[in-house]
Symmetry: C2
Subunit: 384 residues, 2 copies
């Protein structure tokens, strides 16, 4: 393939990915592979399909989750428990480059397509096997949803308010696992290009969350202190948080070191606090968090958000607006930078964001969200 | 390089990565590249270094964050504002494969090594340029920390309790950006292997958070309803949440569909609720959330965590324990699966987790955490 042709098609043009997938982790992984030009064949159970199809019907009959995660894919409704459909499925595997699965523990083995079988029969195949808890250990049989893994993984215990743990709204366990799966596929494609060999890559959602908890784990292991959730603040620095403004909005700002604290104190017209020895160091300010939050909050309550942000920018103090999801949907930083594109659905085009990381010059595929089994006939004919 | 040698060294053996990096996003990206065998040269400002070095000193004098993110790297303390050090730096670039930067907006341009300059002078180089808000738009000059981006990106507005937004404890904006940067480098390495060309990849933290908010964005755009944070629960399904047990622990469990609800009602000895028409469908149960939480909570309060989990497993109801960070550090699922390794530090070995996604047969590099400038002399000599 010439460089020009490839540039028009994305770096993964020519790569075929099979998704034995549902919910979030595997579908987001394969969607990003599709974004870069791979052909993604999503294999779904006839009649039901991916469980997220039924979550709601807000996007012209399709769900908010399914639409987010599945554009640019082909949907093949195949019954892998039937011999004829399994025969077609194995023919797909024979030409595929990548399989990504997040079916229930043991499901692949029961279908006779466990990872060992796959790598023996298709040595160039890259197989990603996503599970909740990995193989071995006391929990490897257990169901795994995002909330459950975030609970087991300690993520909820450092989120929320003291005594009131909360689940992060972004499904961190699912999304993080998707991105580890996505990067593992790319590493394996690079490796295969040079060695000719495929790969089997097991990924456990618990391991993903544990990795992301690395800073908190080190704190507990080495200092022996359990981090406490402090709402919008940080357990490790102060003052930092969200403060109501005079025009009914919420400003988010704070300090990340002692120099910034002195600038902040001057900025809010309290230069005497900048010189106060008992606030000089961050550890003292963390102890005096409530006191300092009251001071910063009092100043914010007397200014509009625009005034606060202009003043903080000039003083070199990081600041932001506490946005709703609606605010994000209309965020000028997304609109003015052309981050929205359109993708098709069975009932017409809908807005979708461009993927976050695309090199200059790489085209992004903007294919449609498939109805359940929309490509079954074509795929049966192609792989009969 | 032969296949055998490569297997012993990891798939990225022979790749050199330069990190112009601090805090979390770029360092986690380059650490994962090091995990797979790449050589990572971390360029730090003499005297100060990466800002996370000063966060605390709990790990034998190094900080919890820095230790998490920087093992397996070489630290070169170079003053890029001095001509002799910049000359050495450009010699490093001439042999490097990848540069990952998350310096402040405009910093690379001011150093004369903006992305255009780099791709013109080093056409095989892969350049990742991480920023808070990308180029263009009203906010592209602004400081960007995890809390600020999560606030702008709506992530905090769907986390916490109603009226009490909270920042997810895991720094989702930073970690997510790290993983998009990591995968983009791998995609670009694969592309370069076939085309011979490098790549320039801009990544904005706001775009990362917006991608992860895709389900919530679709809900707002298409249904017009703003998701509300509900603590440990889900705004979209019920009952689901965290419930105190009779032995002073907290069980997390719930239902993901109508069939599971009927099983759950029977499991807690309330089969009449399974047949109650006003609880038959999820949307009705979401409205009756408080009522159903009370019923599930009452049952959990009369059973130990072990009883609850055994019963729920048998009934096919997903369940977990609400763990602290200490619980995670001692989690049998990590210990029994051999997920802990040791990495070096200037004051001795410390435990570190294996990376979440490694193919069977790929070795993982477990290099040491470098003291500031530990490799400066060697790198000066090598690239003089």
């Amino acid at each position: 393939m010439s460089g020009t042709e490839q540039e028009a098609q994305g770096p993964l043009a020519g790569i075929t990915v099979v998704g034995l997938e549902q919910a979030i982790s595997a579908p987001l992984c394969t969607r990003h592979l599709a974004d870069l030009g791979a052909r993604v064949i999503k294999v779904e159970a006839p009649g039901f399909g991916d469980s997220t199809r039924a979550y709601d019907s807000v996007v012209g009959g399709m769900s908010a989750h399914f639409t987010w995660l599945n554009h640019g894919k082909e949907s093949a409704a195949l019954d892998l428990k039937s011999a004829p459909d399994m025969s077609i499925f194995r023919n797909i595997l024979a030409t595929a480059d990548v399989v990504v699965s997040n079916l229930a523990p043991g499901a692949l083995d029961r279908l006779g397509i466990g990872t060992r079988d796959l790598s023996r029969n298709f040595p160039r195949l890259i197989v990603v096997d996503i599970s909740g808890y990995g193989k071995g250990g006391p929990l490897d049989h257990k169901r795994a949803y995002d909330l459950l893994i975030q609970s087991e993984g300690g993520s909820c215990s450092i989120t929320g308010a003291p005594g009131h743990p909360a689940k992060p709204g972004i499904p961190v366990a699912d999304v993080g696992t998707a991105l580890y799966a996505y990067s593992a596929v790319l590493a394996a494609l690079y490796d295969r290009e040079r060695t000719g060999r495929g790969a089997v890559i097991p990924i456990a959602m618990l391991d993903t969350v544990a990795e992301m908890m690395g800073f908190a784990l080190n704190q507990v292991i080495h200092a022996g202190t359990e981090p406490v959730p402090v709402g919008m603040g940080s357990p490790m620095i102060a003052p930092y948080g969200a403060y109501p403004t005079s025009d009914g909005q919420t400003a988010v700002l704070g300090t990340t070191n002692d120099r910034e604290w002195r600038r902040l104190a001057e900025m809010i017209g309290r230069p005497e606090l900048a010189d106060e020895p008992r606030y000089a160091h961050n550890d003292n300010r963390v102890e005096a968090r409530d006191e300092l939050d009251a001071v910063v909050g009092a100043w914010c309550a007397e200014h509009t958000l625009a005034e606060i942000q202009k003043t903080a920018d000039a003083a070199g103090i990081g600041n932001a607006r506490l946005n709703s999801v609606r605010d994000l949907a209309e965020h000028p930083q997304l609109v003015e930078r052309g981050r929205w594109r359109e993708v098709g659905t069975p009932t017409g085009p809908v807005p979708a964001l461009l993927p976050p990381a695309v090199a200059d010059g790489w085209p992004v595929r903007s294919g449609a969200v498939p109805a359940l089994g929309a490509h079954t006939d074509a795929i049966r004919a192609e792989f009969a």
